[in-house]
Structure formats: structure tokens, C-alpha cells
């Protein structure tokens, strides 16, 4: 029983790492642009498929394809913002939310058109897992968790040590004050999309490594990603780390008592409980 729980905890940390990378992007975008970006899951999927093209088409190892996927997804996010969202900046946030819902659908269609509707994987065959005392750990799991830790650390340095990172935090904390102090808002917005899109690409690749690639993979993971962002306090990127881990662990550990099909329901239930009990999140968000 203890081994089983520990095993599920390992899966939970892996899922939590993936959710964290997605939720940080959602939180950053919410902090700067004040809308819930519904296309974030599909942006993750897009990054995963960019990687697939290099892996399956040109024989890259997955890790080597990641930088290209990050740049690709970041550029895609900036392009979407410039062609669509930028024209809606003066509209109520609700309109941006609906627009991003449409973008989510459009991105998924593009993925289906380019890469086809079936399930795909980066590497066929079974990885030989490591075994300790009855626990099973796949090398991929280690890479996913390590990758997430490195990226979160890099993001922390970016937000605290660079001028642009500080400008992003300033805009997120107090938009009006940041604007009157001369922060170039359009440039900050562009960097926000680049960071959010890049992190989403990695999250998508990790999700593809952990499970498989499918055009609906992004939409399916959107709910847990939002749950993680809300749990951590939306608009608070650091909270997203805690939120991602809690949701990831809860979803995996819940399979002890409930049918694994209902894992998304666990994320949903936690999110709703959080919204009722403490809507500002574990850490005070911008709610």
C-alpha cells in the first residue's frame, strides 16, 4: 500500500511538473492582460507537435528538438497576439476570453490538418524503467521533473534579476502605476507571450513524452492547468508551482479511491472548493 501510494506520488509529481509549466504561462498572461487564456492548452499541443516534426521527420532526439519548439510556440503566441488579441485590448476581458476560445479551436484544427488526427508518440517501444524497492521510475519521468525545475529556476532569475522581468512583475502588480512610470507595455506584452508560449511548448513536449500526442491533448489538459493557476492564485506565477503540484498529486493519488477516468473531476472539485473557500488562491492573486 505504501509502495503504491509512493508510486502514485511519483506520477503526481511528474504530472504536477507539466501542469506547473502550463499554469505559470496562464498566470503570467492573466497578470499582464487580465484575461483567462483559453487557447493555452492548445498552445501546449502546438509546441509538442513542433517537436514531433523534428523528432519524426529529421531524427532529432526529443531534448534537441525542444529549443526549436520553444521558439516556434513563442513566435506563434506572439503572432496570434499581434493579429488578433492586440485589436481587442480595449474590449472587455470577456471578449478576449471568447476570442481565445475560438483560437483554441482554430489551433486544434491546424494541428489536425498538418499532423493528422491519430495518436502519435515521440519514441515507439518501451523504455526500460529503473526499479527501487518495488517503485518504477522511467528515465522520462526524471527528465520531466528536472526540466521543470531548471525552467522554473530560470524564470525566477528572469523575473527578479532582469529589467524586463521586473517590468512584467510591476505591470502585473499595478498596471496604472507601471504605465505612468514609463514601462513599454506593448514590449512587455510581447515578452509575456514569448515566455508563456515557450513554457507551454515544454509542457506540451513533456505531456507528449509522458503520454502521447493527440490533437485534443491540449484541450483535455486545460482544466487541470487552470485549476493549478487558480489554486496558486491566478496572476501569481510562483503560486502556480504550488498549484500545479497539488493538482498533479491529487489527480494521481485519487485513483486509489475513484475510477481513473474521473481524474479531471478531481482537478475540477479542488478548483471549485478553492474558489468557494479562498477565491484569491493559496497565495493572494489578482482576483
Amino acid at each position: 500500500m505504501v509502495t503504491e501510494l509512493l508510486q502514485l506520488a511519483i506520477y503526481g509529481v511528474v504530472l504536477g511538473s507539466i501542469l506547473t509549466l502550463g499554469a505559470i504561462g496562464v498566470s503570467l498572461i492573466y497578470g499582464i492582460l487580465r484575461f483567462a487564456h483559453f487557447a493555452h492548452g492548445d498552445l501546449m499541443a502546438l509546441g509538442a507537435y513542433f517537436s514531433l516534426s523534428l523528432v519524426a521527420g529529421l531524427g532529432f532526439p526529443v531534448w534537441a528538438s525542444a529549443p526549436f519548439a520553444i521558439v516556434g510556440a513563442a513566435l506563434a503566441a506572439i503572432a496570434i497576439d499581434q493579429t488578433v488579441y492586440r485589436h481587442l485590448r480595449k474590449s472587455p476581458p470577456i471578449i478576449l476570453l471568447i476570442s481565445s476560445f475560438g483560437i483554441a479551436i482554430a489551433l486544434r484544427s491546424v494541428i489536425q490538418l498538418v499532423w493528422g488526427p491519430r495518436n502519435q508518440v515521440y519514441a515507439s517501444g518501451i523504455q526500460i524503467p529503473w526499479r527501487f524497492e518495488g517503485l518504477v521510475i522511467k528515465p522520462d519521468h526524471v527528465w520531466i521533473v528536472l526540466g521543470a525545475v531548471v525552467l522554473v529556476a530560470a524564470l525566477h532569475l528572469f523575473l527578479t534579476r532582469t529589467k524586463m522581468g521586473k517590468a512584467m512583475r510591476a505591470m502585473s502588480d499595478n498596471m496604472d502605476l507601471a504605465l505612468v512610470s514609463g514601462i513599454p507595455s506593448e514590449r512587455v506584452i510581447m515578452v509575456t507571450w514569448a515566455v508563456g508560449g515557450g513554457l507551454a511548448a515544454v509542457a506540451g513536449i513533456f505531456l507528449g513524452m509522458d503520454t502521447r500526442l493527440h490533437p485534443v491533448m491540449g484541450w483535455s489538459v486545460l482544466l487541470p492547468v487552470f485549476a493549478a493557476a487558480i489554486l496558486g492564485g491566478i496572476g501569481r506565477p510562483y503560486g502556480a508551482i504550488a498549484g500545479g503540484m497539488v493538482i498533479g498529486l491529487a489527480m494521481e493519488m485519487s485513483t486509489v479511491v475513484i475510477d481513473p477516468t474521473y481524474k479531471p473531476a478531481v482537478a475540477f472539485a479542488l478548483m471549485v472548493i478553492m474558489l468557494v473557500v479562498r477565491p484569491q488562491g493559496l497565495f493572494k492573486g489578482n482576483a
Binding site: F35, I95, I98, G102, A106, Q112, W219, P264, M271
Partner: protein, 310 residues
């Protein structure tokens, strides 16, 4: 196509457009009047369809019921069940901001979809429920024209209800909440309570549309409720027609349904080997269309009368 074929297609086409019109009217109560975002339309639609199917089909060991009750009972039950689901979730979420509600509705739709697929005792799982009777087929026969008439009757009924609600003081409170929640609250109205009523009312119409769909097609399975496309099309319909305007909801439903069906003819011409790509291309086109409308004409074809210009 021969004359008969054309007529059959026309009847089929209008019946489906009518079902979408009911959905768009339901969404208009929630979003157009009250400013609530519901991304889980397909969930309420499915709840309505399954409820009416279980209530009206012959008894079966494959799923709950059926209870062999007449069609009108099925519709009322469908509306009531959708309303109940909406009330349960609404009680928790109505005090939240609209973007949190939007996220919550994704969760509801997802859980409903999973339940339809996995709770075999209730829904017969992925095999679905066959043999749902056409409306009044025992007395009037199974003529598709009768189904069309019934659906259009329900469209008119839904329109009348929503239009009355909109022009009544109740509807004015909803629009006031949409424009200035704090002001309404300061005027002594219980904002959450009004929101809940609007959410439940809209969801019951979506349940009604689900029942109409089930009786019109005769067979339902989880496959029929691809959550996104149903929800997404209804949103494009309402935004294109004009959120807040009930005529807009009707016009938008018809216009987008014409477009959606026309793209099917176009993509059919590509041939069967491109069928999946063609489907994706259609959705992509509608997705782009939504962006164009939001940027170029956010008020829709028929703007809400007396609405504040943004």
C-alpha cells in the same frame, strides 16, 4: 439533386437550424443578457438529450429506464434535469467572476462527457441509446415535416419566453448586472440570485434543445456530443447574430448554420480521402470567422437595441 431530395434536405436542414436556434436563445439568456460565459453548452445539451431518451424509450436492460412516456414528458424532464444540474453548479459559482464561471463550465461539460461514456447502467456507455421515438409518431406518423413543425414550434415558444423575460423588469436587472454589477448590488438587488436564475433558465433551454435533437435523430451516443464543436458553433451563432438581441440569436443561428452546411458541400467536393482534413478545415474557417466578427463587428448582425457602445 432531385426535387424530392432537395425537399428532404431542406426539411432536415431547417430542423437542425431550429435546434441550434434554441441553443443560441439559451446562451443569449446567459451571455447576451447577463454576461455569463458558458463553455459547457454541449454538456447541458447532452443532459437534455439523454434525459428525454431515457424517459421516452421502451424499457431496456442496457440503460436506465426507458419509461415509455410520451414526448412532451420527455421534453419537460429534459428541461428540468438540465436546470437541476445548472442550479447545483450555479449555487457554487454564481458569486464568482465570469471568467471563473467559464472555467468551471468546462469542468462540468467534461465530467458530463466522462459520465456518459463510463456510466453504462445509466446511458449504455459508448453504445448509446437507440430507438428514441419521433415526436408524436404514434398519432401523426413519422413524417419529417412533422418533426420540423414540432421543432419550429419549440423555437417560437423559446423565443417568446426569452423575449418576454428580456423586456420584463427581470431582464432589465440582468442587463444592469451585466453593465454594472456593483451598481445593481448597491440598489439592493441580490446579484448572485438573479445570475443563478438566468443561468438555470438558459440551461433549461439547452436541455430542451437536447431533447429535440434526441427525438429528431432517434439515436444518441457520446460521439454525438463532441463537446467543443457544439458549444463553439453556438457561440459563433450568438456573437455573429448579435448578443443580447433575441432576433440576433435566431438570425445568427440560421446564418452560421447555412455557412457551416455550405462549407460541408465545399469540403465534400475534396473527396473522401481528405474527409478528416476537410472537417478540420471547416472548423478552422469558423474559428477565423469568429475572430473577424469580434474585431470588425463585435455587436453582430443585429445589435442589441439601446446597448451601450463599447
Amino acid at each position: 439533386m432531385e426535387m424530392d431530395g432537395l425537399l428532404t434536405y431542406g426539411v432536415f436542414f431547417l430542423t437542425q437550424a431550429g435546434i441550434y436556434a434554441v441553443l443560441a436563445l439559451g446562451l443569449n439568456v446567459q451571455y447576451g443578457l447577463t454576461g455569463q460565459i458558458n463553455i459547457g453548452i454541449a454538456g447541458f445539451f447532452a443532459v437534455g438529450a439523454y434525459t428525454s431518451a431515457i424517459v421516452t424509450t421502451h424499457p431496456s436492460t442496457a440503460h436506465l429506464g426507458g419509461f415509455n412516456l410520451p414526448f412532451p414528458v420527455g421534453v419537460v424532464a429534459a428541461m428540468a434535469t438540465s436546470a437541476l444540474v445548472a442550479a447545483a453548479i450555479g449555487r457554487i459559482t454564481m458569486r464568482l467572476r465570469s471568467d471563473y464561471l467559464a472555467i468551471a463550465t468546462i469542468g462540468i461539460a467534461e465530467i458530463i462527457r466522462l459520465a456518459l461514456k463510463n456510466e453504462d447502467w445509466l446511458t449504455n456507455g459508448v453504445r448509446g441509446i437507440p430507438g428514441i421515438p419521433r415526436p408524436f409518431s404514434e398519432t401523426l406518423g413519422a413524417n419529417p415535416l412533422i418533426s420540423l413543425g414540432v421543432v419550429l414550434g419549440f423555437v417560437a415558444f423559446a423565443f417568446w419566453m426569452v423575449e418576454r423575460a428580456r423586456s420584463a423588469p427581470w431582464g432589465r436587472v440582468l442587463r444592469a448586472i451585466r453593465e454594472n454589477e456593483d451598481g445593481v448590488s448597491a440598489a439592493g438587488k441580490d446579484v448572485a440570485h438573479f445570475r443563478l436564475q438566468a443561468f438555470v433558465f438558459g440551461a433549461s433551454l439547452m436541455g430542451m434543445a437536447g431533447a429535440l435533437y434526441a427525438h429528431f435523430i432517434g439515436f444518441i451516443s457520446p460521439e454525438a456530443f463532441l463537446p467543443l464543436y457544439g458549444t463553439f458553433l453556438v457561440w459563433v451563432m450568438l456573437i455573429a447574430g448579435g448578443a443580447g438581441n433575441n432576433w440576433g440569436a435566431l438570425v445568427g443561428a440560421l446564418a452560421i448554420w447555412v455557412l457551416w452546411s455550405a462549407t460541408q458541400f465545399m469540403t465534400d467536393a475534396l473527396g473522401a480521402e481528405y474527409a478528416t482534413q476537410a472537417g478540420a478545415l471547416r472548423v478552422l474557417l469558423i474559428g477565423v470567422l469568429l475572430q473577424v466578427i469580434l474585431i470588425a463587428r463585435p455587436q453582430g448582425l443585429l445589435p442589441e437595441r439601446g446597448a451601450r457602445k463599447h
